[in-house]
């Protein structure tokens, strides 16, 4: 099973984007993003706090549908899924 992860803005600078990765059945959205983001500790720290919980401002989408952060650990990913992870940008 292959899924695609798209990071945006700061997350993209730290982790790249359009990452295709093989996952096993039952992989959750949260574990997937945790694993991928661990490629760069700074990238991981941008998305998760020290307890491994998503920073509250992070926005997750699966196939264009919003996934609440609290549901990410119960949401499994499937072949062909496209995951988007982004931070709002605040500057003006």
């Amino acid at each position: 099973m292959t899924v695609k992860i798209r990071f945006f803005a700061r997350f993209r600078e730290l982790l790249g984007t359009d990452i295709l990765t093989d996952v096993t059945a039952g992989t959750t959205l949260r574990s997937l993003i945790t694993t991928i983001s661990q490629r760069n500790p700074e990238g991981h720290a941008a998305i998760f706090d020290e307890n491994g919980t998503f920073h509250e401002f992070v926005i997750l989408m699966k196939n264009g549908k919003r996934i609440e952060l609290g549901d990410a650990a119960d949401t499994s990913v499937a072949d062909g899924d496209e995951i988007a992870v982004f931070p709002p940008v605040a500057g003006g």
Partner: protein, 252 residues
């Protein structure tokens, strides 16, 4: 009615939307929150397009570090109030419009009154607490909020039509942490221009707005994309608003 000077000034855009469209712009009152990186291109383009009344609010003084992106302000303006600098430039660009530049911090106690009878609010702020406040006022007054945000080479924009599209809280329920953000001037140039384009289309009642669509710009890759965003029925800001299908476009 238009003077000969106005007819000449707007000649090339009246080829697009006629005297009727130009009249709509002239009758409009747009509130721009912020005279910084986003507020500069937004106010410049709305001024030269002939938006009849522009209220622009900012509490800051022009600083040397603003000048890589805040193109309303010149080197000679360092130390001046941004509102004074903005009023001077906008009025020089187009003496046929009214510019109200107000030097004040936008707060819960004054926001409703400051925005007054404006037909729309443009978000040119640099922080989410004030953005959420503008969002609340837009919902209360049922007027659009033209959102933009930037950081580095990245930007985002969307047009919020209360009751029709998701509001700012639906899309971004939690603010990112405060920071001194890196930025190159072209990024607010691009996003601010998109916001101004949205305002003009909204006032004209033509074209497709970024309604329910979050526009995302990656200047490093020169790549734009959009994400569909949806209303949150449990949204603390707009959840109680009944859904209306048709955008509440400007009255004729």
């Amino acid at each position: 009615m238009f003077s000969q000077r106005e007819l000449d000034r707007y000649k090339r855009q009246m080829m697009l939307f006629g005297g009727e469209g130009q009249e709509r712009l002239k009758k409009a009152h747009i509130f721009i929150a912020g005279a910084g990186g986003l507020g500069s291109p937004i106010s410049i383009y709305l001024a030269v397009a002939g938006v009849g009344t522009i209220t622009i609010v900012d509490m800051d003084v022009v600083d040397q570090t603003n000048l890589n992106r805040q193109i309303l302000h010149f080197d000679r303006d360092v130390g001046k109030k941004k509102t004074a600098s903005a009023e001077e430039k906008l009025q020089a660009l187009n003496p046929d419009i009214t510019v109200n530049a107000i030097d004040v911090k936008i707060e819960e106690s004054n926001a409703v009154k400051l925005i007054g009878k404006a037909n729309g609010i443009v978000d040119a702020m640099d922080n989410y607490p004030t953005r959420y406040l503008l969002n609340d006022v837009a919902i209360a007054k049922k007027i659009p909020l033209f959102h933009g945000g930037i950081r580095g080479f990245y930007g985002q924009a969307t047009t919020i039509l209360p009751g029709t599209t998701p509001c700012l809280k639906c899309i971004f329920p939690k603010a990112p942490p405060k920071e001194v953000f890196p930025v190159v001037g072209v990024t607010p140039g691009i996003i601010g221009t998109i916001q101004a384009n949205e305002v003009i289309k909204y006032l004209l009642g033509s074209g497709d707005l970024l309604a329910g669509r979050l526009f995302i710009w990656d200047g490093r890759e020169a790549h734009a994309e959009e994400i569909c965003v949806e209303r949150n029925p449990a949204c603390e800001a707009c959840g109680s608003l009944r859904t209306t299908k048709k955008p509440a476009r400007e009255e004729k």
